[in-house]
């Protein structure tokens, strides 16, 4: 274990120490993922004789979050707590980092058991999972945000302007993106009463029990893009082709069908507007393309000299073909 990991383990013991003086031991910490600004660590702790598998999400001291509109880690912890209280399957937050811990911003949550790899989740038809995603989304969208964290607020047409501006700053020339921006502006649905929107609810950010009959949603992860806006945005994003891992016949994450998602959504009190879902699916495909561009741009500018960013920059073309498939469809192999 590196000395940085040793320091982290020692700090985590202090974070988890209960006021009553319950003894806490923290085992080796291992880095799971993360970029320059945000890290995810996995570790086991023994708290009062009880073994606890845990996850730390943090921005190290001095780190600045890349991109705008991130909820921030303290807000993320509070959203997970509120969503859990509303009946959404989430990993329980057990501690939030404080300045006196000296570990940066972040929180500790329970480590759930299950599968997050999109390709494995999409490997089978999982009708129960699609239904449960619908129910979880309806509950997220009904979370009471009174007194909650201060989140970015947006509306459909504002999102189009945001994407146009973001794409424009990359300086790339993509007629297909301009076609999509124009279509989105011309077909934008009316403003809504903003609800809590997860912002990145897709196959890959869902912890799934693959052994349960038909699949089972164990936890909704990665709340960093949560904001207040049109709830149909989450349903459309879940249907973006890139998260189907080649299983386009199952439009919901490659594992389910729209009717299953919508039934689950309605069962938890939600109201589906299918035209809005389609509009957000188009916007989501464009968003993914602009995100790919932004990663390529981060490499080109030298801000993030990581080889994979250069490779992802070239994936913007997958958004172009998906946008054509949505906006100018033509015959294809079924």
């Amino acid at each position: 274990m590196s000395s940085a990991a040793d320091t982290l383990a020692a700090g985590l013991a202090a974070v988890l120490a209960a006021p009553g003086g319950t003894p806490v031991t923290v085992g080796p910490v291992s880095r799971l993922s993360g970029g320059a600004s945000q890290e995810t660590w996995s570790f086991d702790a023994v708290v009062g004789g009880q073994d606890q598998p845990l996850i730390l999400r943090r921005a190290p001291p001095g780190a600045e979050l890349r991109g705008s509109g991130n909820a921030g880690l303290a807000a993320e912890a509070e959203l997970i707590r509120r969503a859990g209280a509303a009946g959404v399957p989430v990993p329980e937050v057990v501690a939030v980092l404080r300045p006196q811990h000296g570990l940066g911003d972040g929180f500790v949550m329970r480590r759930l058991r299950g599968e997050t790899l999109g390709r494995r989740v999409a490997a089978a038809h999982r009708p129960a999972l699609a239904w449960q995603c619908g129910a979880a989304l309806a509950r997220i969208h009904s979370v009471d945000m009174a007194g909650g964290p201060d989140l970015r607020r947006t509306q459909p047409l504002a999102e189009v302007a945001h994407l146009a501006d973001w794409h424009g700053r990359h300086g790339t020339v993509r007629p297909v993106f301009q076609l999509a921006l124009r279509w989105l502006a011309d077909h934008a649905p009316a403003d809504v009463v903003p609800a809590l929107v997860h912002g990145d609810f897709r196959n890959g950010n869902l912890m799934v029990d693959l052994d349960a009959d038909g699949g089972a949603l164990v936890g909704v992860l990665d709340w960093e893009l949560a904001h207040l806006g049109d709830p149909m945005a989450d349903l459309g994003w879940l249907g973006v082709n890139s998260w189907r891992y080649g299983r386009h016949q199952r439009p919901v994450g490659g594992f389910g069908h729209w009717a299953q998602l919508f039934d689950g959504y309605r069962s938890a009190g939600g109201t589906v507007d299918e035209a809005r879902v389609h509009w957000w699916q188009v916007l989501g495909s464009l968003r993914w393309g602009v995100i790919c561009e932004s990663m390529g741009q981060a490499w080109l500018s030298g801000a993030e000299p990581v080889m994979e960013k250069a490779a992802i920059g070239r994936r913007a073309s997958e958004a172009e073909i998906d946008l054509l498939d949505l906006l100018l469809p033509r015959a294809a192999t079924p």
Binding site: A310, A311, R330
Partner: protein
């Protein structure tokens, strides 16, 4: 004149080394993240090889289509032609019903994917020569 192996063959050798030797060796040492990076690197080398092979003809065809679509037979700069089409789509003076637009965008995008991501499923489904799509 340079000798063999030619650039394409050199790239093939590098991609094969990354994919079949370096990546698996890193995986055996337990460094799955670096093994993954080796696969990414191999895919990038393949992209370079495909672009070298396919881009000259694809760019020439794209230029001819854009010149006809925009009525600019003397403009030879492909980037300038694309900027012109992008701005006309943005201001609505060309819209999705414009004759030839859909065919042009499809042909151009399929040519991009043939280099960037020939394995992507939407690209695969739009290959006329492909056998029936796999579920």
């Amino acid at each position: 004149m340079q000798d063999l192996p030619d650039p394409e063959q050199l790239l093939t050798a590098v991609a094969r080394f990354l994919r079949e030797d370096a990546g698996p060796a890193l995986g055996r040492q337990g460094d799955n993240a670096l093994a993954y990076q080796a696969r990414v690197a191999a895919n990038m080398v393949d992209t370079v090889a495909r672009q070298t092979q396919l881009a000259p003809a694809a760019d020439a065809a794209e230029r001819r289509r854009l010149q006809a679509l925009l009525g600019l037979p003397d403009e030879a700069d492909l980037a300038a032609l694309n900027r012109r089409l992008a701005s006309r789509l943005a201001d609505g003076t060309i819209d999705s019903s414009h004759p030839g637009l859909a065919d042009h965008l499809w042909a151009t995008t399929l040519a991009k994917l043939a280099v960037d991501q020939p394995g992507y499923d939407t690209y695969q489904r739009h290959q006329p020569t492909q056998p029936a799509g796999t579920p």
